[in-house]
């Protein structure tokens, strides 16, 4: 069962006149939400209009947002991988690896902060970072806007969506809106957990869900709620020495935040490896082994971490449940 919330509201009149383009800006995107999904909050200056989302999608796949035209947002956020990358560290315009593993973009509409250290408070501001980062797209967003602004569909969509030519403001808002539509919530686990379909999961997957929810494993202490994340920052004892990536401490400058990273969503987790902030673990099997070990005894180790022992069958059950968190349909709702 799929519950669809249609947000399409045609606020403009039917008449085709000189104000037609202006009226187009008021057509809201028909966002489909699965049962159990909260309504995303959008900024007052960036309503989720149809034109803005279509423009955002075009820009998301536009390689000319990078300095040498070699990579787009989609180069590191593959739609068929839950909008994440297959590499531990994505490669930028000159083939140089970035600092961290590219996270899934599924359900970013619900995130209160962005990047694994939470240094950026809005999706709009997040867009700037990869475009300007010398290890990623290494471009200047204003130069990119100047290059693309006169081309279609950018010129007309920009006017429709924001009533102005393509610029940094338009690019950041449009891509943010497209990313807001990447809703994940159509997995068999969703049918089981939110839609009352007791047959949606196999017996092994149900046992895996029970393990996941158990106090012994304590996964749900942090991987909670609809998006299976508390959106908080934790040190899970991946290392004793975090080297050149202090995690949350980079933002807060607090030693107690050293080695803390944002809890990632587990949606589509079977498709979004490699795992951890630096992509150090290639398989979910390795991830489970790490958490079963309780992590390294770092001074900031989360008190939620604990050791546990799983039989091979239990581990297989847990992996089966995690795989059942994969969406049955594409996250991309834009035709």
């Amino acid at each position: 069962m799929v519950h669809i919330v249609l947000l399409a509201l045609l606020l403009a009149g039917c008449g085709k006149d000189a104000n037609a383009d202006k009226e187009d800006t008021k057509v809201l995107f028909a966002l489909q939400l699965p049962v159990g999904a909260p309504m995303p909050v959008t900024p007052s200056d960036n309503p989720l209009t149809d034109a803005s989302v279509r423009l955002g999608k075009a820009l998301f796949f536009e390689a000319r947002l990078s300095r040498n035209g070699s990579i787009s947002c989609a180069s590191c956020h593959h739609p068929d991988r839950g909008f994440s990358d297959t590499l531990a560290l994505s490669l930028g315009v000159d083939g140089l690896p970035g600092l961290r593993n590219a996270p899934s973009l599924g359900n970013v509409a619900y995130h209160p902060s962005f990047f694994r250290d939470g240094g950026v408070p809005t999706l709009e501001q997040q867009v700037l970072a990869p475009i300007h980062d010398e290890l990623e797209m290494d471009h200047n967003i204003n130069l990119a806007a100047a290059e693309l602004g006169d081309e279609e569909p950018y010129g007309s969509l920009s006017m429709q969506a924001y009533g102005k030519p393509l610029d940094a403001y338009v690019i950041t808002r449009a891509i943010a809106n497209y990313e807001r539509t990447l809703i994940s919530g159509w997995s068999r686990s969703d049918r089981f957990l939110y839609q009352g379909d007791a047959t949606a999961l196999s017996a092994a997957e149900v046992r895996g869900w029970q393990l996941f929810s158990s106090a012994e494993l304590n996964c749900a202490a942090c991987h909670s709620g609809f998006d299976l994340t508390d959106h908080d920052f934790h040190n899970v004892g991946q290392y004793l020495d975090y080297g050149n990536d202090p995690g949350r401490e980079r933002i807060t400058l607090q030693p107690g935040d050293l080695g803390k990273f944002k809890t990632p969503t587990l949606r589509n987790i079977a498709r979004t490896g490699p795992y951890m902030h630096d992509g150090a673990f290639g398989t979910l099997d390795q991830v489970i082994d790490h958490f079963a070990s309780g992590g390294q005894p770092h001074p900031n180790l989360s008190p939620e971490m604990r050791t546990f022992v799983l039989t091979e069958e239990q581990k297989a059950d847990l992996l089966a449940f995690l795989s059942a968190l994969s969406d049955d349909r594409s996250l991309d709702q834009v035709p």
Binding site: V120, P121, A129, H132, D133, I141
Partner: protein, 242 residues
């Protein structure tokens, strides 16, 4: 004629001028120097530690710039960006006429602006992405960008390869200073009042607050608040008004 650290802001703001208020122009010229001579980018100097040193980039913000006289102040500018790539930098502001004892400014971007979205500013605004002073990973601006190269061995003759990247930011590094003058700053109707500010870049490495030893303190673009504060304190003591 000296720059000094000012206290917390408790000054009264002069009400905005009416339409019939006469206006004049205040012009500030900041002249970067090294030991009294015009600073040359990429020229090899000896710093306070006798290290071979070049300067390759120097930019900073002034925030909440205002004229002061006792408890009274006149807002001059919310934010200004100074980029010395082409030598001295001149800024001009149209202001109501008046007599003031000094100029007060913050080094950096005030907190209220520091976390703004740079994409919301026009491309020629000091806070736009074109300034290349925005830390995209932290949603804040670099307050000071002071980069170059160094070699701790004064006898060495090989090309300089070690880089220093002294880039301050974060709200904790925002600091105010007073540029005080012996004579009052008088903004005269339909005239230009010029303040020539000398900035001794060689003193960025040393003041009574502390010495920056580039051999161990060459990177302050992420997290090294102590070094960032030391640079800011040293900078404040490097300014003087002619």
């Amino acid at each position: 004629m000296l720059a000094g650290l000012s206290g917390c802001r408790r000054d009264a703001i002069v009400p905005p001028a009416g339409s019939d208020t006469p206006f004049g122009t205040l012009r500030v010229i900041i002249v970067p120097e090294w030991e009294g001579q015009p600073l040359e980018f990429y020229h090899e100097y000896r710093n306070v530690s006798d290290y071979r040193t070049t300067v390759e980039s120097l930019k900073f913000y002034w925030g909440d710039v205002r004229l002061v006289d006792g408890m009274a102040t006149m807002p001059v500018s919310d934010i200004e960006l100074f980029d010395f790539q082409n030598g001295p930098v001149t800024k001009e502001w149209k202001l109501p006429t008046g007599v003031w004892s000094g100029l007060r400014t913050g080094i950096g971007v005030p907190s209220a602006l520091n976390h703004a979205d740079p994409a919301t500013f026009p491309s020629d605004h000091p806070l736009s992405v074109n300034s290349l002073m925005y830390w995209t990973w932290a949603s804040g601006y670099k307050f000071v960008l002071f980069d170059g190269r160094y070699d701790p061995d004064p006898a060495s003759v090989v090309p300089l390869v070690n880089t220093y990247l002294l880039q301050t930011g974060m709200d904790t590094c925002y600091m105010e200073m007073d540029l005080l003058t012996l004579l009052p700053i008088t903004v005269v109707k339909d005239s230009i009042t010029t303040l020539r500010v000398h900035m001794a870049v060689d003193k960025f490495f040393h003041s009574n607050f502390g010495t920056i030893d580039l051999a161990t303190e060459h990177e302050a673009h992420e997290g090294n608040v102590d070094l960032a504060l030391k640079l800011t304190h040293n900078m404040i003591q490097s300014f003087s008004i002619e």
